[in-house]
Symmetry: C2
Subunit: 335 residues, 2 copies
């Protein structure tokens, strides 16, 4: 694994840990072909980068420099950026984008750009982060981490926070697996998404009015990897298709299960246990399934209902009309 | 609305905006009845609080000081903290808690506490934040904002970030409604959840090993409200029941729609438009509904399927057996 430079906080006061986030003003409008490293270094002026700094830059200026600006509206561009719709209500569409990000309108932005134009997300934000990191190393000799941010809504909570959509040279998850707290309890599942937290810290410093696309976070050099080791990138934080409990809006999940079951599509998501499926069938229909080989048999329940439940649980459902009355046979996907 | 003290950044360099987050070490184990304000001021030592600082404190030490620690396991305590299950797979339960927060195991924590004990979230984190703010004002004369944090998983992305579960004296959403960017575009929907971003910035400084429960963020005095004006609190960020697209896991949404439709329960969520419902019925059944009064009539489709779709879209469904064949009548909730 990556070696890590010594934590800068050891250079500070012994009894506190401090970070600073500086967002320089004075960056001109970014245009296609602009040199982001040069713009950052100019904006920083006398304040030089140091080993272990984390450079944060908004995806908007990365996209502008890379020429990922189009004439048109968000609605025009949305289909090309979308892999599938996650949830839709009225004019709001939350989609899974070509980058795997779940975002309203695929992160297409119509603010801080000429009227009548839109900014798409960078083609490969992790690659953009690696390039900027390497360029800064070439020009200054310092070893920094780079985060590329965008602003995203969340499930369950109002408002947006900035998240990392690209990263280079950084731990993205700070894993405590194998470590214990002061009481000896295992910290098994704790894994702070530090690049997302860095993105949010930068937003607090940058603000949203467009004049400060860069920020430099100092004080967590322990998160920065050695030169040449770019780490997994921010894309490693994206849950793969099918592994998320919330891969579909509640309404869309119902439509998808009923439709998918009727059309005999491949189920979505990892299969539930036979006990979980049996409990769901009993809960909905009042009829307890009967074990049947590796699977279950359900008698006298609406076959469409049973098929939708099977689909939602990642199981296959076959209707058996050899007996009198409706019988459904449920099989695990591996069968 | 609240007046705001002058933004501190004007006191710094004119061409950059900087925040600092300091997390002092040296806080002893917190016990029931401990005085958090005194512990913070002792930990800060010579570094005094200033007007416009934001004091961030983990919910864990707030709970410990308030005596919200129990003997037992997370499993024992979960039912008492849960309003309803949002999603469940295997041993993982994501629930909506009595505070309205959607979190794994209702935010009950078994780390950084004596083995065999658990820490529940504070009873009313916004009230705890208000109390700490008032106490700090009484003792020091300074006007700060207070954020109480917890660590939460997210939909769509791996890892956790710290969020604000309590707040006092702060803007919680920084609204740009009515403002325009440098190009004159409206910033209508942009509303950064600044208290959540502050919580994340603090986590970057505090870390997870328990020795630094406090942090002080300096540089965003513009977000701090006047003394006596505590603002809406962090609970204002929680989406109300029924208004969230992701109020149920995909699997749970299917179970709930099929069961709720069968049991003639009240639908969940705000009603969809008649066009949205008609499109869903057509998509799933292949049968286009026919306008019928304020609602729709669906002939020759599986009534259980139509009822589940109606339920998922916030509509009522009645089966009409006066005609030959299955007919479902769909009515908006207001009818």
């Amino acid at each position: 694994m990556s070696g890590r430079p010594e934590n800068e906080q050891s250079a500070g006061s012994a009894n506190r840990s401090a970070i600073t986030v500086t967002a320089p003003e004075g960056t001109p409008e970014v245009r296609k072909g602009d040199d982001l490293a040069a713009l950052l270094l100019t904006a920083l002026g006398a304040e030089e980068l140091s080993d272990g700094d984390v450079v944060v830059v908004t995806s908007k200026v990365v996209s502008k420099a890379e020429g990922n600006v189009r004439e048109g509206t968000r609605e025009d561009a949305l289909p090309g950026e979308t892999v599938r719709v996650v949830a839709r209500r009225g004019p709001t569409q939350i989609v899974r984008s070509r980058l795997g990000l779940t975002m309203a309108a695929a992160g297409i932005d119509a603010s801080n750009v000429e009227a009548g134009h839109i900014v798409l997300l960078p083609l490969d934000p992790d690659a953009s982060a690696r390039t900027l990191r390497a360029t800064l190393r070439d020009r200054t000799g310092v070893n920094v981490g780079v985060v590329i941010t965008d602003t995203a809504g969340r499930a369950w909570r109002d408002g947006q926070t900035d998240i990392a959509i690209g990263a280079a040279g950084l731990e993205v998850l700070e894993s405590f697996a194998g470590q214990v707290d002061a009481y000896g309890n295992d910290l098994v599942v704790t894994a702070p998404a530090v690049v997302d937290e860095i993105a949010s810290a930068a937003e607090i410093s940058q603000g949203k009015l467009g004049a400060r696309p860069f920020a430099v976070l100092r004080g967590r050099a322990d998160l920065v990897r050695e030169p040449g080791d770019d780490g997994p990138g921010a894309s490693a934080l994206i849950r793969p298709e099918g592994s998320d409990f919330f891969g579909f809006g509640a309404r869309e999940a119902v439509v998808r299960a009923l439709k998918g079951a009727a059309a005999d599509q491949a189920p979505f998501g990892a299969p539930a246990s036979v006990e979980e499926l049996a409990a769901a069938v009993t809960e909905v229909t009042g009829i307890a399934p009967i074990p049947h080989g590796d699977g279950l048999r359900v008698d006298d329940a609406d076959p469409a209902v049973v098929a939708a439940l099977a689909f939602a649980h990642g199981w296959r459902c076959e209707r058996d009309d050899t007996n009198l009355g409706a019988t459904s046979l449920l099989q695990p996907m591996t069968a």
